[in-house]
Amino acid sequence: MKDFLLETNVLTKKYGGRAVVDQVNLHIKKGEIYGLIGPNGAGKTTIMKMIAGFATPTEGEIKLFTDKDRERRIGALIEAPGIIGNLNGFDNMKLKALAMGVYDKQSILDLLNLVGLENDRKKKTKNYSLGMKQRLGIGLALIGHPDFLILDEPINGLDPQGITEVRELVMKLSKERGMTIMISSHILEELSKVANVFGIINHGKLIKELTEEKLKAECEEKIEIVTGNTDLASSILEENNYKDFEVVEANKIHIFGNLSEVPAINRMLVMRGVDINEIHIIGSSLENYYLSCIGNGGNQNV
């Protein structure tokens, strides 16, 4: 077994016979920032609810901490932050700390400082802005110093400054505390700035899991050659110092870089007896790549 902190095995959730999460196999390693991306209604929040223990799976299993300390080792911010409007920020934090049996005034003040609410701790949370509420929600999730943090669309409704602050906080938690973080969003561009592993989900199914490097490679512009003789083409490319290429399918080669040398590469291969069916530059933006994934549907394990 690999060193996964979290694994789900054919995780399924049905409401009224309809599967909103359908046989999802997720894998998150310790220390990763896992970005779960999908359109609205894809099942992201439901997956997170099941992992956090708010909803019971209809089928499948979740392998996460099994020891008795698991309540303290997980923090979650799912949908709206759960804060009582008539109480101030400090009291909301204190309530959760008391419930967990970890109340310490200084720890709470440190957390409020970490999320930038130390000056607003005595203000009633019903008077907080949306960004402040989101930050307090993250603060609540951090009580007890969890090892695993679940953040469900934490940047929803935030202004650009708020988005930057949340992003920096997530990066800080990962770097300084070695926290494993699972974060969801429907904005791949923003998620790509923080996450190092991505899970793309649509209609309740996990379409793809891929690393940051793989995602970049998928989106990077490259030369695509379609030919019936990839072996000969590969050896010719190597002889001519084109090292950065990959045979992706039986009849397809991708060459990274050298985008201005398409005519030269074409001529070189043809003159050495390689039949070229197609040669062109491909690549896409993150959004286009994401849209192509959810548009295609199906399961593709990378």
């Binding site: 223990g53 708010f54 109480l87 309530l95 967990m100």
Partner: protein, 288 residues
Amino acid sequence: MFNLIRMNLYRFFREKGYIAFIITLLCATLISAIAIEITAESGIEIVESVDENGQTVYNMGVADENSDITLSAAAEANTSMAEIFVEILGSGVIVMISGIFAIIYSDTERRYGFVKNLTVRKRERVAVFAAKAVPVFVFTCYTMVAVLGGVYLGSCFTYAIPFGNVNRFFAYFVVQLFVATAFGVFSLALYELIRKEVVAVIIVIFTSLGLVSKIVQLLEMGLVKVGICSEAFIEKYEISQHFLANRSAVINLSDVSAGKPCALIIAAIGIVIYLAAGMILYRKKDVV
């Protein structure tokens, strides 16, 4: 569990529960003042009777073949704070308030989403439900204290009346507290079942006014009519008398049991059954 109880008590006092105390105190003061004033002016409502122990007791508005009507000249000397307290609580108001508080308390936790903070990967999330019984008990207790305070203030503003029999009052207070708390726990379980605040509050209001026992009485009449059981059987077991709201209404200073089994046992059974039911529902249903 202890941590959750601590959290619930902290939340209870921080959410300004004293406002409910003040409102209850004011309302009880007003009711008591009016009741004492009417009693003093007319006297007709004050009734002196002898209980089964041979002791003289004074009741407001209660008369039977063993009673004498006492007139206004001695009226203000013929009632007590304890009696007025019993009259107020016996109207069903304390079980109603306890039930409504329980529902609002649970709904606030869910509506604000705060329940998510309490149940993250919780091994036994039913403890979150069970711990709510404690603030229900505390709220019921201090509401009853507020009523007592209101009766005292009502007396201060009108006529000075005696407190009454302290031992009987204390026994009544304890039994009524547990009966009302049991009803509050029933309301917690009811809310977990339907998870709709308004509907639950309406059910609680009508249940506290005796609707369920009326329905049961109707069913009993039906059963006798179709011949499934006899009137003697119904009279012997008196199912409707075992309901919490009904028992709360009939217990009084002279008789804190008001039937068999005693009210305290009814309350204890109610707390156990409704706690268990609520915990089962809490475990089976998704938190959010």
